[in-house]
Amino acid sequence: MQKMALKNIKVLDFTQVRVGPQITQWLAVMGAEVIRLETKFRPESFKMTNNPGNLTTPGKYRVGYFASLNYSKESITLNMRNPKALELVKELVKYIDIVAENFRTGVMEKWGLGYNDLKKINPGIILISASGFGRTGPMKDEPAYAPVIDGFSGYSYVNGYPDGEPAEAGARGFSDSIAAYQGVFAIMAALYHRSKTGEGQFLDLSMSEADVALGPEALIEYAVTGRVQGRLGNSDKHLAPHNVYRCLGEDNWVAIAVSNDKEWKDLCKAMGNPKWIKDARFADAAGRRAHKDELDALIETWTVKHEHREAMQILQSAGVIAGASLKVQEFCQDPHIKERGFLIDIEYPDKSTIRRSALPLNLSVTGKGNYTHPPEAGENNQYVFGKIMGLADEKIKELEKEQVIY
């Protein structure tokens, strides 16, 4: 852990479900000590739902989705309804650098843990607060539900086929992920500022704003031309061919894009220079754009003869921009992904392991990050209350009995 970017940084993690835990996961992997605050009275939501990855070994408790987002973290249990637990948290804050939460607006303040409260205890504290629509403004009390945020932030409107309807954006967790990454970057910037000045601050991360900032193209179009952009599917405003073509086999497809005349010639050559390439309509970029539907149909007569990964290989060898449309299992078995070390095995204390995707963190000296097992609830009670806060063993036992540490 010596050279990790966030060594010596401690995070008190109140986050739940997806956007919040994804933020603190990055911090943990970059070397911070992330202390999840949980309680036996209310198991984390993923632990309650039926994830395919739930293991049912007696006494053990491995939960798939919880594991995906919470590796490398620690966990304490505190019953926040008990005033003694609140006192403990306020004491713990003295040792903390970053507090992270994604509750409904007002929850932290109700506990006396709003930014101004935290600042009194620890002047340099950084608080990141993730919500659907921000902690100020007319929608600060709205819950954060991803499809609603997608609709609001414009992604849904532009996500779909030209002849079809809008759709929720992206694979599950898309809008959470985008906002989480913006949040992690904001924290890093706040830490940089603090390293120079000692000053902490409050980071108000509105998922809808974070998402819009990362997906601005329709708004740019509207600002500059007044046009409302529609849905483009896999096509591009400028490039042709630029589409996804059926390949041999069940639901196999390959994406191909051509961005200049040389790449067009390379594509033609890779396809064996079929007669139809000489068609005058396809002679230049403008022509290929104007007749892209016919062009796409003709390209597909070649791709259908090849499995998608084979098509990708043939095309790439010829210098063509191409990519197989991978399914999850194909991605998980892909030789490039494997060699890149993007899939990691994480070991639990009982020596059992789970395999997960790593974070896209890749530094030449520091490496790919810190990957340790996702914590059981309260796994680190002794360490945090005893070692960090200096409570005696008897005191901790007493608080456990009183269901304060619970």
């Binding site: 050279k3 798939g64 995906s68 629509f133 921000g134 100020t136 403004g137 007319p138 539900y145 609603v148 609709g151 932030s153 414009g154 992604y155 849904s156 409107y157 996500n159 086929y161 079809g164 809008p166 759709a167 929720e168 992206g170 967790g173 949040g183 890093m188 830490l191 390293s195 902490g200 409050f202 980071l203 991360l205 704003e209 819009v212 997906g215 601005p216 193209e217 329709a218 708004l219 740019i220 179009e221 509207y222 500059v224 896999n234 996804v244 390959v254 994406a255 990519g323 449309s325 399914k327 999850v328 299992q329 490039h336 060699e339 890149r340 899939l343 789970i354 995707s357 896209p360 890749n362």
Partner: protein, 405 residues
């Protein structure tokens, strides 16, 4: 002027289009000193992308370029010329960070691979963004946003329920250039991570970011499902986690979340029709499991009789979780964004006033300033080459005449 979060961080940006420039923008907008290096003549190819006012192409008025390059200083420099590379080395000595998104072999071919850069400036963080990364069997594969979306499984899992017709429609990428933007923000995280290590050790390092991995980071659960339980998601409804929350109104679509506790509110929103009062709908299992298939078409029929605005008004009166599937126009006029001060008005020398999305996160102590417009091509040549690097006028003239700058 308030202090800025990244004041004092010196960044050299040598890239084009979106990924590296978006990373540079994130840093510049928080106060880092970002010098953007463009080739003389045409500059960053985003200048040709548009959109353009009145659809008239102009290298200083491309909407995408203007958004991506706020708050940066701009210089021209031709690295293909030896004299250009010498100037670049001076800039490298100045910088804390170099961000680039060139094909893997480009800088090494110019004698500027990571170890050469590290020798010039041992504290330098070099952030390289490519589609497949610098290692592995696909390290020299060509990419683009479309390809990144598909090789990361993001496209295969992009839900498109109503248009969904597996026999006709291929898997679909995310809108716009989401992959490129995503790799920009993840590059910014990696960069800051390396900057903190420099603070501790005094030594720079190389960030090797693959856009395939950046986009694939979204599907962490699905990867977990495969390894935990051998689940292979197909483009098939039975593997979806929930029914679509999208409902068609008479003039558009809305997104609405209807968990069990909201059902009574939904019934009131519809003026309590008799069919909705069915006692079997009064339990979570009854509502969402047993009867949802017959309920949803009736809901849709009701929605179709009302405009989006009317539905939203009624739903908000019942404190329901709802949003219009908003177009850019609706978003631009959205009161909430206005009250939050989310949009910014940028005043650009050539392109004029533009209303663009603003900061992705609000900082209490170091709030974002009104952005300074993107640089004109070579706008800061004098300030940087003469003012900062101390080149004499004769040297600058020579560089200009030989097309180096």
């Amino acid at each position: 002027m308030n202090a800025q979060a990244l004041s004092g961080l010196k960044v050299l940006e040598y890239g084009e289009f979106i990924a590296a420039p978006y990373c540079g923008k994130l840093l510049a907008d928080l106060g880092a000193d970002v010098i953007k290096v463009e080739k003389p003549g045409t500059g960053d190819r985003a200048r040709e992308n548009g959109p353009f006012p009145q659809d008239q192409p102009h290298p200083e008025k491309s909407g995408l370029f203007l958004y991506l390059n706020t708050n940066k200083r701009g210089v021209t420099l031709d690295l293909k010329k030896a004299a250009g590379r010498k100037v670049f080395q001076e800039l490298v000595k100045w910088a804390d960070v170099l961000i680039e998104n060139n094909p893997r072999q480009d800088l090494p071919k110019l004698g500027l691979d990571y170890s050469a850069l590290h020798e010039i400036n041992p504290k330098l963080v070099v952030t390289s963004i490519t589609y497949f990364g610098h290692t592995g069997p696909y390290r020299d594969y060509k990419g683009c946003d479309l390809v990144a979306n598909h090789v990361s499984v993001e496209a295969f899992l992009n839900p498109c329920y109503e248009v969904y017709n597996e026999d006709l429609n291929p898997p679909m990428k995310l809108p716009g250039h989401s992959g490129d933007f995503l790799s920009g923000v993840i590059a910014a995280i990696n960069t800051m991570s390396a900057v903190f290590v420099v603070q501790q050790t005094g030594a720079g390092q190389h960030v090797d970011l693959s856009e395939q991995e950046a986009v694939a980071s979204i599907i962490c659960h699905e990867v977990g499902d495969y390894f935990d339980a051998g689940i292979t998601y197909l483009r098939d409804r039975k593997y979806r986690w929930e029914e679509s929350p999208k409902y068609p109104c008479s003039d558009g679509f809305i997104m609405m979340n209807i968990p069990f506790q909201f059902w009574e509110g939904v019934v009131r929103m519809m003026d309590s029709p008799e069919w909705a009062q069915n006692p079997e709908y009064k339990t979570p299992v009854g509502l969402l499991h047993d009867h949802w298939k017959e309920i949803q078409p009736r809901l849709i029929a009701w929605f179709k009789q009302h405009t989006c605005a009317e539905v939203v008004k009624r739903a908000q009166a019942q404190r329901l979780d709802i949003a219009i599937v908003a177009s850019a126009k609706e978003m631009s006029e959205n009161k909430m964004f206005e009250e939050r001060g989310f949009f910014v008005e940028i005043d650009h020398k050539k392109a004029g006033r533009l209303k663009f999305p603003g900061a992705p996160c609000k900082f209490s102590a170091t709030p974002a300033q009104t952005p300074h417009g993107a640089p004109l091509l070579g706008e800061n040549n004098t300030a940087v080459y003469s003012g900062m690097l101390g080149f004499k006028p004769t040297k600058i003239q020579k560089l200009q005449e030989s097309g180096v700058i």
